[in-house]
Symmetry: C2
Subunit: 164 residues, 2 copies
Amino acid sequence: MASIDEKDEEILKELRKNGRATLTELGRKIGLSPASIKNRIEKLESLGAIKGYSAIVDPAFLNEFIQAIIEVELLVDNEAVDRMLYNISRLDNVIGVYRKTGEFQILIRANFKDVPQLKEFVKSLSVKYLGKNMKRAKVSVIMDTFKEGGVIMQERKTRRRRRR
Amino acid sequence: MASIDEKDEEILKELRKNGRATLTELGRKIGLSPASIKNRIEKLESLGAIKGYSAIVDPAFLNEFIQAIIEVELLVDNEAVDRMLYNISRLDNVIGVYRKTGEFQILIRANFKDVPQLKEFVKSLSVKYLGKNMKRAKVSVIMDTFKEGGVIMQERKTRRRRRR
DNA sequence: GCTGAAATTCTGGAGTG
DNA sequence: CACTCCAGAATTTCAGC
């Protein structure tokens, strides 16, 4: 790890909260010229501190009404699994793919149009992607999102009371 | 749900993959003028289709070396829990907060400097945030991220072979 | 949703400490 | 060497159609 100072950290934190902040805005907030911010961001990107930029999208507007968390228990976890997970990552409806500790070693965040499509995906995990490496999967459905990707959802589940 | 057409969906998908895409780039890719793209994005934002924008940051560069998944089993889940989850969402090191189906109804993605800080956070969940609503928590640690927030990590765990 | 003009931002190079 | 300044380029923004 190299050459990250206070200002760089502020840039990272700010961009995590607002990925579309302008160089000028960042400069004002942090106390640097836009040109310096630009140089630092380019440095942070090439260091791998910034992996990319993303909009937090409500999946329902893309006709993805089922947001699921799929946990997978593996029989064996080796380098071949890395390639398989990478292939899963390339699917557009897959939002996140992680290896983790615990009984289920893999966690996948993915969105689906409907339950059959979710079912089909889980089936493809063993049939197409993970094969004999997969022992079993546990599926949960997301019912409410309070924060995602560092962005707080403004729309509360409990609807604001109407004015009278 | 209202008035989302093909072009809007393309904008959402494109912004999910590159949240910093310029209006001009989006216009070229989708076949609209930058001004129209802007109008549509503003519409999508006010409709709640776009919740916000975020940079995908490697937490290690913010000295957050522990990436954890904390699942919480609730004794009772009511509207008061909503406020508690909202308060948890406001913490900077918390990346995601979800309500879901299953044995554990809450899932939290959060980053920590070290294990004591993680331990402290889990303790604060029952002491400060959820109180008697919380029955127990299950903690996993993320060991590898393949995709996050719709962005594929370029840096593979298996290091590229050195040239010779 | 487009055009066109004005405002803002971005960008790269030269200069400064 | 990182930063600022500055001018030209690109983008964004807004009005009118």
